[in-house]
Amino acid sequence: MMIDNESEIIERIKNGDQNAFCELVEKYKEKALNIAFSFCRNYEDAKDISQEAFIKAFKTIRNFRSESRFYTWFYRILINLCKDYLRRRMKNKAISANIRINNEAQEEESIFEVIASGLPGPKEQLLNKELGEELTKALNSLPEQQKRVFTLKNIHGLKINEIAEIIKCAEGTIKAHLFKATLNLQERLAAYACQEV
């Protein structure tokens, strides 16, 4: 039902219906913002990039073929814009190497809520805070591709074949990255995995 509803919305967008487009934006805006945020670690830029991705999707919706899911097609646009953004930022960073703006701090900025709600005692909350920090550090220590694949799989909940489609990579490659990243994290988080109830 969901898929049918979505393909109907997309048909309307293809006919130039802006309201249908807004429905789709409403549906995916949080996911888009979260993905963009996991790349750029600041919400203003995440907003700009994800909005740009939506606009680009709207303008090129005719290129979207219904055999794939809309979100895989859209995430591809989004992630490419995120990569462009990171490339630009790297360049700026190289230019202003000795000025050192907040970029360094931004990269360490966690994508997780520092204290997760719903946990009872202060002890658990502290543990969770530590875990969040440790996890952020562990993720940031991974090679770029491993980090990306692991995040898309475990944080944004995508399937391996979807990730392969989004970043235009063979499934085998995605699997290799995911496997290595999982083992890396298992090692880094071993202490927490034992403590867990």
Partner: protein
């Protein structure tokens, strides 16, 4: 790989539910029977759960609330921008390209063009000038011939006197043409003459040929 002949990769993808249903069943059955493998899978599952349990940061509400409306605004702004200004933008981009393409690459060609045009104009000058000189000399020879004829046919003194006078005239005329020849080398004079000149078809085609040559040189250079 462990003693049970199952690769660690398979346990990882078992946890991610990314195995074929048949393989998944096989491993599931094995786990029931094998404690060692079961523990390994449990460790993996715990790690993955730790990550998945983490809550993503809450998106600031001001960003979320205005989000769709802002996109609408950006789209409207894009549409407004898309007609005449887009044309203008294109024109500017085109001019910019032209300028960038022109200056550095065609500079040698432009230099060559200037030289060729100058040489051509100069040659054209000497040619028309030589032609004028020739005409004048021929006219002088003609008149001289007539006078000589008169002299030899008449054989009188008056004729002889006239012959001397006419040879003076000839000298004077030659002096005149020499002065003119000097003027030909005067730049201002050249320009003035060039302006006054009407080109015939042959000369036009000469010009075109030379322009073609210049273009060839230009493209070879760039």
């Amino acid at each position: 790989m462990n003693a049970c002949n199952i690769k660690k990769e398979e346990f990882v993808f078992y946890c991610y539910e990314e195995l074929s249903p048949e393989r998944r069943e096989e491993i599931k059955n094995h786990l029931v029977a094998c404690r060692q493998c079961r523990e390994e899978v449990q460790r993996l599952e715990k790690t993955i759960l730790l990550v998945k349990q983490q809550k993503l940061k809450k998106i600031p509400s001001d960003i979320l609330n205005n989000y769709t409306r802002q996109i609408k605004g950006r789209l409207a702004a894009d549409e407004e921008k898309s007609f005449i200004p887009a044309l203008k933008e294109k024109l500017f981009a085109w001019l910019e390209n032209l300028r960038l393409g022109f200056y550095p690459q065609l500079m040698p060609a432009i230099a060559v063009l200037c030289v060729v045009v100058f040489v051509f104009a100069f040659m054209q000058y000497s040619r028309t000038n030589n032609f004028n000189l020739l005409n004048r000399e021929l006219a002088l020879l003609d008149s001289l011939g007539e006078e000589a004829e008169d002299i030899y046919s008449g054989g009188d003194e008056a004729g002889l006197a006239e012959e001397i006078e006419s040879s003076d005239r000839l000298m004077l005329a030659q002096l005149d043409t020499e002065v003119e020849a000097e003027e030909v080398f005067d730049d201002a004079y050249i320009l003035q003459e060039l302006e006054e000149e009407d080109l015939n078809e042959e000369e036009v085609s000469d010009y075109l040929e030379i322009i073609d040559d210049i273009q060839e040189i230009g493209s070879a250079v760039s």
